[in-house]
């Protein structure tokens, strides 16, 4: 029987759900464990150990990724429910997101120049704080490498979702607005998904910051290119 059991979409779908369930269990016992890291790391290990090609996993994985669409649309609900709070504090959030984004772009520019990285890498990395499809479009626009820009965006999201809440706690940020704004700006949907587990208000603010930064990033990147 050579029709391997992993050759059907059901395989990718099932192991993703299984590993996610396991990660949930671990996370309920050890709060510091990031479920997304465990889920994706576990799947990668499983594929490597069982020598299953990525393409076979992808057939089922794509089905799960598809639901990212309605999940993003669902962010409208916490946004709507917490609108009053957002409206009262709109100026601080917009200012925080803008200054944060600009400092992030300058940090990328400064570090890559300092460490003598290539200009190609810099142009690819500038849009890394926004959702993957937008990062790819902006990098393309700037003359970076689109595929790599997607990788950077995903890694940034994962990193932000892993260290963000702890780092912000360490620096004594306790109220919803700064935490939500920082997570959404630094690590887009992945950070929003993470903070949504802690608080719906922070999640709603994070969703707003994410939307705002995906509009502002292309705008901020363009003058930076003229200047470079």
């Amino acid at each position: 029987m050579n029709d391997a059991w992993f050759e059907q979409p059901l395989f990718g779908l099932t192991i993703t759900v299984l590993f996610y369930m396991g990660a949930q269990l671990l996370n309920s016992r050890y709060r510091w464990i990031n479920p997304l890291f465990i889920t994706s790391g576990g799947i990668i290990l499983f594929l490597l150990v069982c020598d299953i090609p990525y393409e076979s996993y992808r057939a089922g994985g794509d089905i799960i990724t598809f639901f990212l669409g309605p999940a993003t649309v669902a962010l409208a609900v916490p946004f709507y429910k917490n609108f009053q709070k957002l409206k009262d504090q709109l100026a601080p959030i917009v200012l925080g997101v803008s200054v944060g984004l600009v400092c992030g772009l300058l940090a990328v520019w400064g570090i890559i120049s300092l460490l003598h990285g290539s200009k190609q890498i810099m142009l690819t990395m500038l849009p890394k704080s926004v959702t993957t499809p937008i990062a790819i479009e902006v990098a393309d626009l700037l003359g970076g490498t689109p595929e790599l820009a997607g990788v950077f965006a995903v890694l940034t999201g994962l990193l932000g979702s892993m260290i963000g809440p702890t780092l912000l706690k360490l620096f004594k940020f306790r109220s919803d607005l700064p935490i939500g704004a920082a997570m959404g700006t630094a690590s887009h949907g992945i950070g929003t998904a993470r903070i949504m587990r802690d608080s719906e208000i922070q999640g709603g603010i994070s969703a707003f910051a994410m939307g705002l930064s995906s509009i502002l990033t292309p705008l901020f990147c363009i003058p930076l290119i003229w200047w470079l």
Binding site: Y20, Y54, T72, V73, G96, V97, I179, A181, A193, A209
Partner: protein, 117 residues
């Protein structure tokens, strides 16, 4: 089922608009904005979508898992500049987190002082 139908409908609408208008915002984000507008306008009642939305949001992380698996599989494309990339990526993420939180906290603090004056 009503909730799922609405969420899927807005996702589709957002993606169709994205293709038609070719704006630099993803179709899913357009769908989200349209749903926010519809909620405020009263075209969609919160109770219709709330339960389904809560389910999606609670488990939002799983929808990113296959994307991350795919990314890791193409780790090779990062190439020889990986140290520069790792440093720039982590430091700038820290900078964005702290600066955004700092400025927002500082500004909300000021806004509060104003209201209570």
């Amino acid at each position: 089922m009503k909730g799922l139908a609405i969420l899927l409908g807005y996702t589709l609408l957002g993606n169709v608009l994205h293709t038609l208008l070719s704006v630099p915002v993803s179709g899913n984000v357009i769908g989200m904005v349209l749903l926010v507008i519809s909620l405020f306008a009263g075209w969609v009642k919160l109770s219709w979508v709330e339960e389904t939305a809560q389910f999606f949001l609670k488990h939002m992380m799983i929808f990113f898992a296959p994307v991350i698996v795919g990314t890791m599989m193409f780790f090779g494309v990062i190439g020889e500049q990986w140290i520069v990339i790792a440093v720039a990526l982590s430091v700038s993420t820290l900078v964005v987190l702290l600066v955004t939180a700092g400025v927002t906290a500082w500004q909300t603090g000021r806004a509060k002082e104003h209201t209570y004056e």
